[in-house]
Amino acid sequence: MATAKDADRVRPALTLSKEEREVEVPEPRLNWMNQSREWGIRVKPGKKGLTLGSLNVGLYGEIPMNWPDRTRNPRGAIGVTGSPPVAIQIKDKVDLWAPCAADLYEEAIQRRWAPATDVDWTAIHPLPEDVERAICQVCTEICQYAIIDVEVITSWQHQMAYGYHEVKQFLATTSLDATRRHEAFRKRALVNGGGLGYEGPCQVSRLLLESRGGWTETVTGLTLVRGLFTQVMIRYLTRFAYNGVERKIYECVTQDLARLLTYGIEHIKYALGHAPDRQGSIFTTLAIGMRMFNRDLRDPVLREALAIIFGGGIPGARNEGMHVFYEMLDEYVQELLSACQYLRLPVTMEQLPRVLQKDQRHLPGD
């Protein structure tokens, strides 16, 4: 291979036919040369390599508040005019931006994992049938959450302007994360003498899929309702894992979800910081999300399955397991309220459904 120094003299060989050697060569126009908005950029790799965020130098780092260009011109390139537009709907930075997106993108790539090989599937052993059924039921519902996450994210990604490529690229990692989450939990359900369970209720999923008005509102549901709850649930599942297989899956999924939550919360913060009038719609979306979540929680299936896991079986589920389940809900509420406080969203415990209020909930058996 040629080096920089002899680039103008030595090129690798490509055997050309006689006909190819005799091709008549047109005179080059070269009208594309010397066409750059900023030349002479030399970004050097840092201790984390050459990262996406480090490219934001000079005009390449100028990220405007509005990106009206509906073509695929890369940010900083000389654009093409007169092309038919593509279907880009999100053109304002406030509608998708999070300052951490480029870092989260690189982190996602560094922390990639493969359920097939990063989990020691031989480390699983038969469990009592009630526990196995409960785990398989929880796996089924988490699979369904992941399926919906993919559909939600991918239905928005292509609508986002290319000037904000950091967000688009980060979202590509999140949909692969969700794909892998579906894969990992499906594998767990089918590896230990069990199978998939009963389809979960769909009210929160419905909220996420039907939230067509704005990505920020979708992110509100995806992060503060579905994502945060799933994160807390998986934290509790880690505490009560029955083997190394489950522990490893939960550990990896927790990392993946943490990035989605970070993006989501930071995006909402950015949106509220730059468009305070959005607070009303975000607040209302969250309130609707809580109602949908409440409807899903009325369904006993996930609650009972988790209680069986936490209680070590059906007998334990009737007291200790259910106690842990409600402790888990309380932890979710605390995290939700903390996030709202960080976002300066005026959400209080009293505004939440009664089942989420420790002192107000009607318990099964009351």
Binding site: M1, A2, T3, A4, A7, R9, R11, L14, L16, E20, R21, V25, P26, L30, N34, S36, R37, W39, G40, I41, K44, G49, L52, L55, V57, R72, P74, A77, I78, S83, Y105, A116, T117, T140, I147, I148, V150, E151, T154, H158, H165, K168, Q169, A172, T173, T179, R180, L190, G195, L196, Y198, E199, P201, S205, R206, A305, R318, E320, L363, P364
Partner: protein, 356 residues
């Protein structure tokens, strides 16, 4: 609740859901490659339906809940519209071969290049950044419209979306790493009729994106040795070629499945191939095509500088031929080789006039 526990009373459990679980007693076994998607194709869980009636997003094989709402709004619900036989393999390979443009490319091997070569590299990097956007966004949009009963195929597309995000970023990095910058976009992926964006059918989109579009780019990446001036560029082309080969394989294998299982659509697919062939050398999305912005920059890269343009152009012509020949092999492999015998394909004429 605490009081209830202290009183010793217990929560009542319904547990009716335990009688509503899917096929039970499944023991998927890991193989030498770990526990792969292929390994969990056991019992009824292996069966993707010919027509999916799953509109609520439930995992395939889970028991339906009566009254669940059709929130999925899936437009792709027929197996032949999306299926391919080796999706599980392609997906697992994609996960195993993920790479990082930040740390897997030896960026420190880049040294200053002559200005004409650097400009050519940067123009090509600008173009590739631009076209990788479409290769990520379009599969992403389709994935949101596919029944999860065909999750294996959907998973491959999600891996592709990730691959394309990385391609966008690695070519942007290349443009900004060596004293250059981004140059002029081409508009190659604008919303033209017959473009990848506007396809209303998945197979139509796949024929344009995977078979002809990415196929042409794959040939270029495979020639990366001829265009690379340092180990960083060499690694970029090699790793992108690995990814691109999977995407092309998706298209070929999907079309093969379609040919075998939906013969009534063969004529329609031949029409897509007619369009693909017509645009193969004229379409701006092929960097080795006739758009001077990309073909001239490639010629400079291949020749070793502006003053070796002629030599580079002749190599470019050779690469065009390879693109056409590789396309032909893929179409034959997909089960549509008859078009090269019955006179429908224009490929023979195109090969004869490849320099024009």
């Amino acid at each position: 609740m605490d009081q209830q526990l202290q009183n010793g009373s217990e929560f009542e459990l319904d547990l009716g859901w335990m009688e509503k679980q899917g096929e039970w007693g499944v023991h998927a076994e890991p193989s030498k490659n770990g526990l792969t998607l292929a390994d969990i194709q056991v019992g009824g869980y292996a069966d993707a339906p010919d027509e999916s009636r799953n509109l609520s997003g439930k995992p395939r094989g889970a028991v339906s809940r009566p009254g669940s709402m059709p929130i999925g709004n899936y437009t792709v619900r027929t197996k032949s519209e999306i299926w391919l036989e080796n999706a599980s393999f392609l997906y697992e390979e994609a996960l195993q071969r993920q790479w990082s443009s930040a740390t897997d490319i030896p960026w420190d091997t880049i040294e200053p290049l002559p200005d004409d070569v650097e400009q050519a590299q940067c123009q090509m990097a600008t173009f590739l950044t631009e076209v990788e956007f479409v290769a990520g966004d379009v599969p992403s949009r389709w994935a949101s419209q596919m029944s999860p009963d065909f999750y294996e195929a959907r998973n491959v597309l999600m891996a592709q979306v990730m691959d394309e995000a990385r391609h966008m970023d690695v070519f942007r990095k290349r443009a900004l790493a060596n004293g250059g910058g981004l140059m002029r976009a081409t508009g190659a992926t604008a919303g033209f009729v017959g473009g990848i964006d506007l396809a209303r059918d998945f197979t139509e989109m796949s024929s344009r994106l995977h078979l002809s579009g990415e196929g042409a780019v794959l040939t270029i990446f495979r020639m990366g040795e001829l265009m690379a001036y340092n180990d960083a560029e060499k690694a970029i082309y090699r790793l992108c070629a690995q990814d691109e080969a999977r995407h092309v394989a998706f298209g070929v294998m999907h079309m093969r499945y379609m040919a075998a299982n939906a013969p009534e659509r063969r004529e329609e697919i031949d029409s897509y191939l007619d369009e693909a062939e017509a645009g193969m050398l004229t379409d701006a999305a092929n960097p080795a095509g006739q758009l001077n912005q990309t073909s001239e920059s490639l010629s400079i890269m291949l020749g070793g500088g502006r003053k070796y343009f002629d030599e580079g152009f002749r190599k470019l012509v050779s690469i065009r031929k390879r693109q056409l020949q590789e396309y032909q092999k893929r179409v034959i492999s997909a089960g549509f080789g008859e078009r090269f015998k019955n006179g429908r394909s224009r490929l023979h004429d195109m090969l004869a006039n490849v320099a024009n």
